[in-house]
C-alpha cells in the first residue's frame, strides 16, 4: 500500500542492554525505524530475539539504554493513554467483568458517554451477551478480543499488540486476524504488531520488519503491496512469504 507517508513514530538508534547478576546481555542493537501514521506494521523475528523489548521501549514501559523514541515529534518517556499496549501475557483484569474491563480507561468520561462507548465496543468485538461475565468464564479468543476492545475504547491513536493471538488455536487465530483488519480499516489506528509467525505478518501488515536473532537488528523491511482482502494463494503472496522464509534462512520444505 503506497500511502502518503506521514511519520507517526520514529525510533532512532535504539539499544538495550540488560544487566543482571553482573552479566550484561545486549538485546537490541542500534535499531532505527519509522512508522507511518495509520500504518499496520509487523515486527517479525524468532522467539527471544527482543521483539517484546523493542515494543516496550516504543510504548514507554522500558527506557532504552541508547537512542530515543519520538511520537509526533515528542520523546517518549512513559506510557500514555494515547497509545495502548495489548500484552503477550493477558492483561485483562480478572476482578472486573467484561463491561468493567472495557470501561477501565474511561474514567474521565461522563457516565452516559462511558456506557455508550462500552456498548459500542462490546458490539464491535462481538461480545454481546457477555457484558456481566468475568474473564475466567470466557474462552481464550474472547479474552483476547476483550483486551483489544479495552484498548480501542479509550480511542488511542497507536496500538501495540504483542503476539496477541499467540495462545489461540489456528482457526480462532484466523478469525481474529480478520476482525483486527476490519477494526483497523474502520478506525485507522497506527498498529505495531509483534509476531513470530511469518504467514501472520504477511497477511496483516503494510510492512514487515524482519529482525535477526539476539542482539536484534533489522535484517530487512518488506513492503507487502497486496490490497486487502488478501488472497493467500496468490502468486504475489507466496512470493513475498517465501522471500521472508529465505531471508530468515529457512528452506520452505518439511
Amino acid at each position: 500500500m503506497a500511502q502518503a507517508f506521514k511519520t507517526k513514530l520514529r525510533a532512532e538508534g535504539i539499544s538495550m542492554v540488560f544487566k543482571r547478576d553482573g552479566n550484561s546481555t545486549s538485546v537490541l542493537d542500534n535499531i532505527s525505524l519509522d512508522v507511518g501514521d495509520g500504518e499496520f506494521l509487523c515486527l517479525l523475528g524468532p522467539s527471544g530475539c527482543g521483539k517484546s523489548t523493542l515494543l516496550n521501549t516504543m510504548a514507554g514501559f522500558l527506557s532504552p539504554t541508547g537512542g530515543e523514541v519520538r511520537i509526533d515529534g515528542e520523546v517518549v518517556t512513559g506510557p500514555d493513554p494515547r497509545r495502548i499496549f495489548v500484552f503477550q501475557e493477558r492483561g485483562v483484569f480478572p476482578w472486573l467483568t467484561v463491561e468493567g474491563n472495557i470501561g477501565f480507561g474511561l474514567f474521565k468520561l461522563s457516565r452516559g458517554e462511558r456506557e455508550r462507548r462500552i456498548a459500542h465496543y462490546i458490539k464491535l468485538v462481538g461480545l454481546q451477551g457477555f457484558e456481566k461475565a468475568y474473564p475466567q468464564e470466557l474462552s481464550g479468543g474472547m479474552k483476547q478480543r476483550l483486551e483489544v476492545a479495552r484498548a480501542l475504547a479509550v480511542n488511542p491513536d497507536t496500538l501495540y499488540l504483542d503476539e496477541p493471538f499467540g495462545a489461540l488455536d489456528s482457526i480462532t487465530r484466523l478469525i481474529m486476524r480478520g476482525e483486527l483488519l476490519r477494526i483497523w480499516e474502520a478506525e485507522r489506528k497506527t498498529i505495531i504488531f509483534v509476531t513470530h509467525d511469518i504467514e501472520e505478518a504477511v497477511q496483516l501488515a503494510d510492512r514487515v520488519v524482519v529482525m535477526s536473532a539476539r542482539p536484534a537488528r533489522i535484517q530487512q523491511i518488506v513492503e507487502i503491496d497486496i490490497p486487502h482482502p488478501r488472497d493467500i494463494s496468490s502468486p504475489r503472496y507466496l512470493e513475498l512469504r517465501d522471500g521472508i522464509f529465505e531471508q530468515i534462512g529457512l528452506a520452505h520444505k518439511i
Partner: protein, 252 residues
C-alpha cells in the same frame, strides 16, 4: 447425592457420640463427662447467663484485637511489599518476631496494661499483626507485572493505580490470610483468657476446673469454642465465593 449418602456424616457423628457416652459411663473414676452431662452443662451455663456473657466477651476481644491489627498491618504490608528497600530493611526483624509465641508476651502485656481486657486484646493484636503483614507483603509481590503495566497504560494517577489495580489484585490472597489469621486469633484468645483475665470462654475452662473440677463445664466450654471457631471460619470462607473474587481461587 442421595439422602442416604448425605446422612452418613450425621450417622458417623452419632456413632462417635455413643462411643463417647459408653466410654464415659464405664470409666472407673468419674472425671470425664459423657455427652449428656456436657449437654446439661451447656444448659446450666445458659441458665446462669454465663453462656452469652462469655461468648460475647471472647468475641469482643477477638474483634478488637484482630480488627486493629488488620487496619495497621494491611496498609503497612502493602507499602512494604511495594517498596523493595522497605522490605529488605524490615524482613529480618519480622522474621525474628514472628515465631515468638504471642503467649510469651503475656507477662509484658500484663506489665503494660494490667490484668484485664486491654491486655488480652493486645495479645490478639500481636498474634494477628505479623501474619497479616506478611500476607500483605506476599500478596503485593505476587501481583503479575502485566496488571500494573496494563493499569499504567491508561494514564492512571499513582493513587488510582493503587485503588483500581493494586488493591483488587491482592484481595483474594488477603482474604485467605485473614481467614487463617482469624483462626490463630481464636486460638490465642482462649489461651489469653486462661491466664490474663476473668471472663470469656478460656476463663470458663480454667475456672470450671479450678472451682470444683466441673469437667462437664470444661468440655461444654470446649464445644462452644469449637462451634464458634467453625462459624468464624465458615464466614470468612464464604467471602471466597464472591463472584468477582473467584478468579483468585482457581486452584480448588
Amino acid at each position: 447425592m442421595t439422602l442416604l449418602v448425605r446422612l452418613r456424616p450425621v450417622a458417623f457423628i452419632a456413632v462417635l457420640l455413643v462411643a463417647w457416652h459408653i466410654a464415659a459411663a464405664r470409666q472407673a473414676v468419674h472425671l470425664l463427662p459423657g455427652p449428656i452431662a456436657v449437654a446439661f452443662g451447656l444448659v446450666e451455663l445458659a441458665q446462669r447467663g454465663l453462656l452469652v456473657k462469655y461468648v460475647v466477651a471472647s468475641l469482643f476481644r477477638v474483634t478488637w484485637g484482630f480488627m486493629s491489627a488488620a487496619i495497621i498491618a494491611i496498609p503497612a504490608g502493602l507499602a512494604i511489599g511495594w517498596y523493595r528497600r522497605a522490605e529488605m530493611s524490615l524482613n529480618p526483624l519480622i522474621q525474628i518476631f514472628r515465631p515468638i509465641s504471642p503467649l510469651a508476651w503475656i507477662p509484658i502485656s500484663i506489665l503494660w496494661f494490667g490484668v484485664g481486657d486491654v491486655a488480652a486484646i493486645f495479645l490478639i493484636f500481636l498474634a494477628s499483626l505479623l501474619p497479616l503483614t506478611l500476607t500483605a507483603i506476599n500478596a503485593v509481590e505476587s501481583i503479575p507485572t502485566v496488571y500494573i503495566n496494563a493499569g499504567r497504560n491508561f494514564g492512571l494517577s499513582p493513587a488510582s493505580l493503587v485503588y483500581r489495580v493494586l488493591y483488587p489484585a491482592v484481595i483474594p490472597q488477603l482474604i485467605i490470610g485473614l481467614r487463617i489469621t482469624l483462626g490463630i486469633a481464636w486460638l490465642v484468645v482462649v489461651a489469653a483468657e486462661m491466664i490474663a483475665v476473668n471472663s470469656g470462654l478460656g476463663f470458663l475452662i480454667v475456672d470450671a476446673r479450678n472451682a470444683g473440677n466441673r469437667y462437664d463445664l470444661v468440655v461444654a466450654g470446649m464445644v462452644l469454642i469449637g462451634v464458634i471457631g467453625l462459624l468464624l471460619d465458615t464466614g470468612m470462607r464464604s467471602l471466597e465465593g464472591i463472584r468477582s473474587l473467584r478468579w483468585g481461587y482457581s486452584e480448588d
